[in-house]
Amino acid sequence: MASPVISFKDYSFQYNAQAEPTLRHINLDIYPGEKVLIAGTSGSGKSTIGNCINGLIPFAYPGKSTGSLLVDGAPADKSSIFELSHTVGTVLQDTDGQFIGLTVGEDIAFAPENDCVPQDEMKEMVNRVAELVDIDHHLEYAPQELSGGQKQRVSLAGVMVEAVKVLLFDEPLANLDPAAGRSAIELIDMVHERTGAAVLIIEHRLEDVLWRNMDRIILMNEGEIVADMSVTELLAGNLLLQHGIREPLYLTALRYAGVEISEALHPEHVDSLVLGTEDKEKVRNWYQVQKAGIHAKQHGEELLRVDNLKFGYTPDKYNLQDVNFTIHKGEMVSIVGRNGAGKSTLAKLICGFEKPVSGAIYMDGRDIENDTIKERAERIGYVMQNPNQMISKPMIWDEVEMALVQSGMPKEERTKRVEETLKVCGLYSFRNWPVSALSFGQKKRVTIASILVQRPQVIILDEPTAGQDYHHYTEIMEFLKELNEKGYTILMITHDMHLMLEYTERAIVFSEGRMLADTTAAHVLNDPELVQAANLKETSLYTLSLACGIEDPQVFTECFIGYEKKEVR
């Protein structure tokens, strides 16, 4: 066998700013041309491994390491970040941030520019890789003109332009809608085939990555490697759940139905599953039992109604049109669709940040057209995607109190309100803490608290769980569910299909500025036409139910969700 291109031997690493080592005694070999997934929760050390390989550690993030790390046969600590970049090409998570050039062509050319490649040769190189990742018709485009998936192609081209031996992807799916995520995985697979470079993917969204075959999975937990095995072997065991990583939905469904997951089932992909007659029988039986338990929930009174809304930033083009729906008291609804479909624009219109061209929004039956942003905010709260974009006070108490201070409420009443809100949000014991001491999920709670303190009737959240691993995702979503049970009406903008399925009964689907559907979440993902039009992705439950000969995949999905809610949590 060839010698490994990356080789960790008893390697440990500790950031200068931290008291504990982030990586402990790592032994790992990556061979040329391999395709390896590194999975783990946030804080498990998976990103740190990536940073050690590409040289950001120790060049950008200094720390202390022991043991050895060889990249392409040479010790990484004796090398420089520049030398390493010839062997390892890194695609970072933030496709926006790493887009350096002013146009696609320039961005791809960035590395050869730094290498002083003559211009003619450089143009040839750029054209060649741009064609390979199918972005060659957009060389003149500015980053703002590209979709998330296209930006990722540019990032990939930018590192492939040098003949690297290892392609490293740091959470490549984090900012992509479901369909774009799927094509990203296909693209990586294609590039892997054509270039023969080793591919390392760091990601916690397992099912999405496994859309294409991987040779191995490395599972990380608290800085150690807890599993280094084939995909089949790992999926057949229990290690994933033990370490906070969500296993593919179809496997969970099979487990619920009492089917034993073994390697013989070929669990690595929903299409590769080999189910015996007995197994299928078990799934069908489970389905029949569960189906009986489903019953529709009663609607409350009408709370928010959007009537024939139309909006455009410029008069000649509408970003949103023909939007009609009604939200009832106590509902929890998903607003889904690809990036740029008009979801966030809708939220801005409801909050009054933008004014519609025509149409109306009613709150409790009253047209709120003439209400100011401030007035609307007392009834409709808006929580931005990134908590860092909202938090503007150093202390938690002050942050939550801010809106009340602005409204001139007397101190006593303020204190009462803030205390109440902090209790609801489980932040009361932190009330005198600085915001900076909190984790991402806790900061999210602070921003939600800072909105709740105004006692809105509806809360709109923009991508509440973006970039969160399963553990934090569950934490945030369970909190929102609790709020919902306490009577708050919640609207969530999301492209996470799991979130939509698991937590919301109803979904409103957008595509290219139009409302495509207003239906149950389970229906959205079991209607192939709708899935395609909205750039979504059907779940593996759909495929599984068909494979087991179940006549109605939608009801099967509903059974699954119902079972999870009832039995598991």
Partner: protein
Amino acid sequence: MARIAILSYIKRKSLVHELTGTTKLIFFIAWSVASMVTYDTRVLICMLLISVVVFKVSKIKIRDISIVLGLAAVFLLMNNLFVYLFSPEYGVGLYESRTVLFTIAGPYTVTLQQLFYHLNMTMKVICVVPVALLFIACTDPSEFAASLASIGVSYRVGYSVSLALRYIPDVQREYHNISQAQQARGIDLSGKDKLLTRMKNSVAILLPLILSSLNRIETVSNAMELRGFGKKKKRTWYAKRPMKRNDWLTIGFVLLILAVDLVVTFWDGSRYYNPFL
């Protein structure tokens, strides 16, 4: 988001656009030196005419840059006003004669010499402003860094300029989003509040903006290092265009103007053209 384009590249097809960034940069520098050095009215009139012609050739319309022109006009007016307030007799000393037109109050008399001085000063600015604006409006931002590097500025500095241009739209969008979300929490910037409250309020928007920008900077600098930025003393440029005949002609022309300007200005040993003696 509505596009806020106060001063940015305006893509059109014109002779000025076709020149390389380097040529335009050299033209701009030489032109500025020429107009800063001289107070010679005859030279200034010639330069003013040329800059009007260049502006026409560029196909940039006045309304494209009206906001900046307006700002420049305000500053020019203020400048004139303060010069007059602090030394109302400056022109008299300069031109060594005194022709009083009328008196406003106290020491503030209006003399023909002072007016002539103000005219020259204003013309200097009017000569430079259109050329500076053209340089920005007609130079493809992609060429900015390359053209700075070609006249000997370190490419690191050049690239910082180019990066700033790259991220301005992103930061603008983010500012817009943050300020909307903060307005929903009662932060009002519309001017109904007192100045002090307004300043306090703007911190509520700036703090998150700065923090998220710092984050962005970390990502960008990592991405740049990972792709070998700063490895060598030099680098090549994807967007650089080769110098053509018109480029050399333009550079020759502006150097000629600079030379004539220097000769005419210093021929008689004075930067000022004095019609009063």
